[in-house]
Amino acid sequence: MPLVFAGIGSHAPGIVNRAERVEEKRREAYYAAYRRMGQAIRDARADALIVIAAEHFANFFMNNMPAFAMGMADYYEGPIEDEAWMRIARRKIPGNRDLSQRLIARVMDETDVAYSEEWKFDHGIMVPLYFLTPGFDFPVIPANINCQGPPLTPLHRAWAFGRALRHAADAVPERIAVVGTGGISHWPATPNSGKINEAWDRDFLARWQKNDKAALLSYTDTDTYRDAGQGGFEIRTFIAVAGATEGCTGELWFYAPIPIFAVGCTVAVMRLAQS
């Protein structure tokens, strides 16, 4: 089936585990936008959700770092973080091994991708799911782009990976939703935690909403690091969603820099043709 939903959202532990440090009205406005995206995924009658994440050394390390990886299991586990710290109880999250295998086989026609029959979700996936599928009962297929350990996956390859995912989703009978999760500018878990370059974020989101491929792929890592911190490298996940929705334009549902969450808090969706 043609892809039934595509969107992007931020992740950060602080969104959940430092919630009380943000005024209720402000944080609830963000959470509501995230929940609205969850409802949109259900309204699209999706059978499975591909989460394109920027994993943070939960499963992949520099002993064997893939540029791209996808999960291929009937269930996953998360959060990998301490439950009390993360404020999300550890649990199993359903997957769909058979569907993963068919998608991965099709993605491999265009992009080399590693696969894994086990995957421990960190906050990069658990925080979005906390809002999108609060029961953690919806089948998820994790995908990872290396945004952490240089040499990083090139932006144009992230785009191509998204396009390959789109072709794979189109080729299976199931209804597939895709959500990219990352940050835009942020300096997570460093002394600069809380720094957010709002102007840079809004410029990136304008490029994303226009789905302007050339503009999205024109960033260099040196510039991104300077303007958007090491967290800015996670634009790869948002670019992959743009690659999955080439020709579509997007809609920003929420953006606000919330320093104690350590990220520009974003929810945006691409307008897909009705299916």
Partner: protein
């Protein structure tokens, strides 16, 4: 230069509750399994989260180690700031990519 093994230890610790328990009970026996220099061993043993940051440990690993050794979020951020003040700029890894 053993930043790789320093981070590998933290990666393994973050993933494995049994290793965390062993580390709390008998830190030297866990550290002996990794190729670490004296400064890295000291930073892990003290523990000196600020020095670990300056040595180049990625925050996505370090924030969990800070939690493991009992630091609150604010204490963790303060420890990194103190580390930079005491030991100078980050020496290796992704945060040393360009001058801030």
């Amino acid at each position: 230069m053993s930043l790789y093994y320093l981070q590998k230890l933290l990666y393994n610790l973050n993933r494995d509750p049994a290793l965390q328990a062993r580390f709390k009970a008998d830190r030297p026996s866990v550290l002996a399994d990794y190729d670490l220099n004296a400064e890295e061993l000291k930073a892990l043993t003290d523990p000196d989260v600020g020095l670990l940051y300056v040595l180049g440990v990625n925050g996505q690993l370090l924030m969990h180690y800070a939690a493991l050794v009992g630091q609150s979020w604010d204490e963790y951020i303060a420890a990194m700031r103190a580390g930079v003040k005491q030991y100078g700029p980050v020496r290796a890894g992704i945060y040393a990519m360009v001058e801030d």
